[in-house]
Symmetry: C2
């Protein structure tokens, strides 16, 4: 038995997220289908996270336990052969047997892209949120800085049945920067709750609109109530950017 860590990248606009579902095209389905063609065996696969429909991955990690003797380099080439063109295998490497793409993960970095100019860019359809009014990057960066640290992020989590879980997460860094017309929110943490980055972005947009002040963020965190944060920003601007092990 060997354990292989596979890093892939994909354009999320083609997928209904990672996890296999009936009647929906998912990353897991494409991945398993390609893998089966190569190693002829239904391998035990573990993914670093589930991504939602429309969310992109600059990098996404999967660990595969297999009896196959294929070299990681050949596996990478074969996956790229069978994957659709909107998906790619970036690397494959052998890792210890106790490595688990999800449980061994020490943190992740997400990026959210906001294209900030008057006219939309046709080449960014499905790849960034288009925002018409000029964004005050300095103000939003100030707001983002309040996300840093260990907090209960209940206010930044879409309610689901996982209410029993620990809602505390440690945000290592959170910043808003601009490159030309593109405003980028970059956030890294030891873990993320459901829709956490998208609600962080929706809250930053409320700050941009003047409906919230940067200094309101600590109180929103303290409320532990989803109703006090901004809306959930659309998925198309969100990219899983780094996975830390």
């Amino acid at each position: 038995m060997r354990n292989i860590l596979i890093k892939i990248s994909y354009d999320g606009s083609y997928f209904h997220g990672w996890q296999i579902q009936e009647n929906a095209h998912t990353v897991q389905e494409e991945f398993q289908s390609a893998l089966y063609k190569i190693i002829g065996e239904k391998a035990d696969i573990k993914a670093c996270s589930r991504t939602d429909s429309g969310v992109h991955a600059n990098v996404f990690c999967i660990s595969v336990k297999t009896e196959s003797k294929i070299t990681p380099e050949r596996l990478k080439g074969a996956l790229n052969h069978f994957f659709p063109l909107y998906m790619a295998c970036l690397s494959a490497e052998e890792v210890p047997l106790d490595f688990h793409a999800r449980y061994s993960c020490k943190g992740k970095e997400y990026v959210y892209l906001i294209h900030n100019r008057e006219v939309r860019d046709p080449f960014l359809k499905g790849r960034a949120l288009h925002f018409y009014h000029k964004i005050d990057v300095e103000k939003l960066n100030k707001a983002a800085s309040y996300y840093i640290g260990t907090h209960d992020f209940t206010s930044f989590c879409t309610q689901d049945l996982r209410k029993m879980e620990d809602m505390r997460r440690t945000v290592f860094d959170a910043k808003v920067t601009r490159e030309g017309d593109m405003v980028k929110f970059t956030v890294s943490a030891d873990g993320f709750l459901y829709n956490m980055v998208r609600i962080m972005v929706g809250t930053l947009i409320r700050v941009q609109e003047g409906k919230l002040k940067p200094e309101d963020i600590p109180q929103i965190l303290e409320k532990k109530d989803r109703a006090f944060a901004g809306p959930t920003a659309p998925p198309e601007g969100l990219y899983l950017n780094k996975v830390f092990y």
Copy 2:
């Protein structure tokens, strides 16, 4: 009667080129359909060129003669409202009545993108040619320099029924540059023959492969025979980038 110059941009992977065809989705069809919804009249429209299926436009120019009294700024906003998200109106301005998007054009600039790294980028599907082997930019730039000047470009034109036309064109500039993994061929000329840029790129690829030398380009031009140039590069890397008036 007024004449309005409209600049648009579109992701060519969604279209079968500019010109209206039966049973194919074209830019002209989307443009005319949006315009009709706004001005309620079948206006006389002239385009700067026909682009082929899969070819992109960072900018594409259309002149519209209309009786409508709509301001250019409102027309721009309305077009963006009715256009699909993979298409945008960049600007609209009133121009003299004798202005013609095609005949008034003094030249154009095209860019061809080659993504040059081992693994493809899923976000560049349909947007760049993927080339695995490391490209020698200096050598290709040398080859491209031979395109500059006034030449008969018969060798760089897909044969069609337009054989009567003058095959001489003046290339103002032609260069190959690299930004990270992206190799870019930029060429400007007073006009382009059918498939001219794509055959120029196919020929540069033959130079990269060592099947041609940069110094062979002048002889290929002199042959005035399509058979001596390289293949026609695929449309997905090609962008109409500038239109000069």
